[in-house]
C-alpha cells in the first residue's frame, strides 16, 4: 500500500477517506488525472445583450390551466435615448474571432445603427472598450483589444461620428466578462463594449 502525495490525497479522499490506495489502482488514477486535464466548465452564464427571440405562446391543448404568451420585443430590451425603437441599438457588445480584430458582417448593421444614433444625438459621447480572451500574453492581448476597439471607432467615424465624441480604451484580458477557462468563456471575452455617456 502506498500513501498518496497530498495532491492525490485530496482527490482520492472523496473515495477513500484514509487516503490509501492499493498501488495497482494508483497507476490508473494517475493516468486518469493526466489524461483528463482541466475540465472546463459548461457555459453557466447566459450572454447579455444578445437579441432574444420573442417566445410564442404554447397551444392551450398541451397545458391544462396554463398558457404562455410571448413577450413583446420592446419590453425586454435596454433602450438608450428616447428616440430609439430598433433592436440593433440594444446590442452593445460585439464579438470577435480568435486573434482577430476584424468585425464579422453580422455585426456591421449593429454598428451602423449606433453610428446613426450618435450622429443624431449630438451631445452623447461613446466609449469603446476593447477586450480579449486570456490566451497568450497580456501585453499582446492589450494591443489586440485596442485594435478591436479601433475597428469599431473607425466604422463610427466612417458613418460620420465626430472623432471628439469617441474614446477608445483597451483592457486586454484584464476585465473578462466570463471567468471560466473554456471556449465558451473565451468567446464572450473577445468583445468590444459600446458604452454611452
Amino acid at each position: 500500500m502506498l500513501k498518496l502525495p497530498s495532491s492525490l490525497r485530496m482527490v482520492s479522499s472523496v473515495f477513500l477517506p484514509s487516503g490509501f490506495l492499493p498501488s495497482a489502482l494508483l497507476l490508473s488514477v494517475l493516468i486518469v488525472l493526466l489524461v483528463s486535464g482541466c475540465g472546463g466548465g459548461q457555459g453557466r452564464y447566459s450572454p447579455t445583450g444578445v437579441i432574444v427571440q420573442s417566445i410564442e405562446g404554447v397551444a392551450g391543448d398541451d397545458f391544462e390551466g396554463a398558457s404562455a404568451t410571448g413577450l413583446g420585443d420592446d419590453e425586454i430590451y435596454e433602450t438608450v435615448g428616447s428616440d430609439v425603437t430598433g433592436e440593433p441599438l440594444a446590442q452593445q457588445k460585439l464579438y470577435f474571432e480568435y486573434n482577430s480584430s476584424k468585425l464579422s458582417n453580422e455585426y456591421k448593421a449593429i454598428v451602423q445603427a449606433h453610428a446613426e444614433y450618435l450622429v443624431r444625438a449630438t451631445d452623447v459621447k461613446v466609449v469603446l472598450e476593447g477586450h480579449a480572451d486570456e490566451r497568450g500574453t497580456r501585453e499582446y492581448n492589450l494591443a489586440l483589444a485596442e485594435d478591436r476597439a479601433n475597428t469599431i471607432a473607425n466604422i463610427l467615424k466612417a458613418w460620420g461620428v465626430r472623432v471628439e465624441r469617441i474614446r477608445t480604451v483597451s483592457y486586454g484580458e484584464e476585465r473578462p466578462a466570463e471567468l471560466d477557462h473554456d471556449e465558451n468563456a473565451w468567446y464572450y471575452n473577445r468583445r468590444v463594449e459600446i458604452i454611452y455617456q
Binding site: 502506498l2 497568450g136 497580456r138 499582446y140 494591443a143 485596442e146
Partner: protein, 454 residues
Amino acid sequence: MKHFSENFDGTHHSLKKILTRIRSALMSLGLISLICISSPASAVLTIEVTKGAATSIPIAVVPFGIGDLNITENRPDQVISSNLARSGHFEVLDKRDFLKQPHELSKVKYKNWRLLKAEALVIGTVTDLGDKGYEVKFRLLDVFREKQLAGQKFVVSASELRVVAHQISDIIYQKLIGRRGAFNTRIAYITVRGTQNNAQYLLRVADADGQNPRTILKSSQPIISPSWSPKGDKIAYVSFEDNRSTVYVQNLSSGDRKRVAQYPGINSAPTWSPKGDKLALTLSKDGNPEIYILDLSRTKLRRLTRNTSVDTEPAWSPDGDTIAFTSNRSGTPQIYQVAVSGGPAKRITFKGKYNAGATYSHDGKSMVLVTNQGKGFRVGLYSIENQTVVELTRTKQDESPTFAPNDDMIMYATQTGGRNVLAAVSPNGQVQQVIQLDNHSVREPAWSPFYRSP
C-alpha cells in the same frame, strides 16, 4: 542501511524509503512525480516537483547547532535545504537518516556520510552574541576527499538570519555547481483576491523562496507587467487605476512613485535599459501600438517602430544595443529585433503561429518567450546562436516567463485546475516545478537582479 532504522518507527521509515526509490525511478525515467515538498519554515511556499534533474548532487545538510535559541522558523539549515532542493541540482538527503548530527569539524566521521551516499556535507552553528546579534558559522565539506570546500562566519541580527542562509546557499551553489547562486534574490508578482467588482489586485515583492511577501501596491483595478530596474531599487509597472493603462515607476524602499506615461491609448510593457536610465515601452498614442524609448531623467521620448501593425513587448538586450519585441506585421505575433539606435527590424522567430513576450537571458545568449506551435501556449527558449525555439513546458496557458539572474531557472505563470499559479522550469527543461505561493490567484512573476548591498 539497517542500522539507521533503529532510531525511529520502522514502518514510517520504510515507507519513506519506498517512496524515495519510486520517486528516483520515476525521475530517472523522466516521468512525472507528484510528490510534494513543503518548505519547512512555513506554508507560504510549497513546491511540487513534477520533474527532477537527470543528475543531482546528493548533499547532507545537518541541522545547525543552535543550543537553546528559539529560531526554529529561520534556522539556517532549513532555509539552505529548501533552497538547494528547489534549485533542482541537489538531492537533499533526509535528516532523519543521519545517525549523528555533528556541528564541529572534529566530530565529522566522513565514512558515515559516504554510507549515506552523500557527496557533500554542510554543518554549522548559530551562537547568541547578546547585543551584537548572532554568529552564524558554516562549513561545506567534500565527503569523498574529506576536505573543506568552504567555511565562513557571519555576524547578523535576528532579522537577517534568512538572508545569511541565502548567502550560504549561494556559496554552496557556487562551489558545487560552478555558477553563481541566485538564492538571495527577490520576485515580484501580482496576486488577485476576489473577482469582478470586488477584486483587489496586489503587487507584491517576496524573497525568491516566497518568504517575507510585502505589498507595494494595492488597487481595485488590474496591475500588470512588473519590471525590475537593473539595480533592483525600482519597479516599473502598468496600472489601470485610472481606468486606462498607465506606466508608473516606483521606488521600492520609499514607496514613492512617478507616473511616467499616460498618453492617449495604451501605455504599457515597460522594460529597463541595462544602465537603468531609460525605459522601452509600448505606446499607441500615434495610432497603433509602437515601441518607444523614454529617457527617464529628461522625460524625452524617441519612437523606434513605425508601421500599421501591433509592435509591443520590448526587451532590452544585456549589452544595451538591441531591442527584441513582438510584432504581428507578418500576420501573427512573432519576435523581431531592432537596433536601439534605430533602423529596420529583423524577424527572428519562424516556427509556430505565435511567438511573443520575449525577454533576454542575463548572459545575452538566449531568450525566453511564450510560443504556440499547435499544442498550446508554452514557455519556449530561443537560442540566439541557433535561431531556434524549443518548447520547455507541456502545459497550455503559460505566460510571463522570467529568468533567474543566474539564468539557471525560469519562473512563469500558468494555470492548473483552473487556478492561476506560478511554476518554474530549468533552461534544459529537466527540472519542472509548480509553485504554490499565496492561496490566491498569482500571475506576472518578475525575478529581481542579483541583490547588491547598498
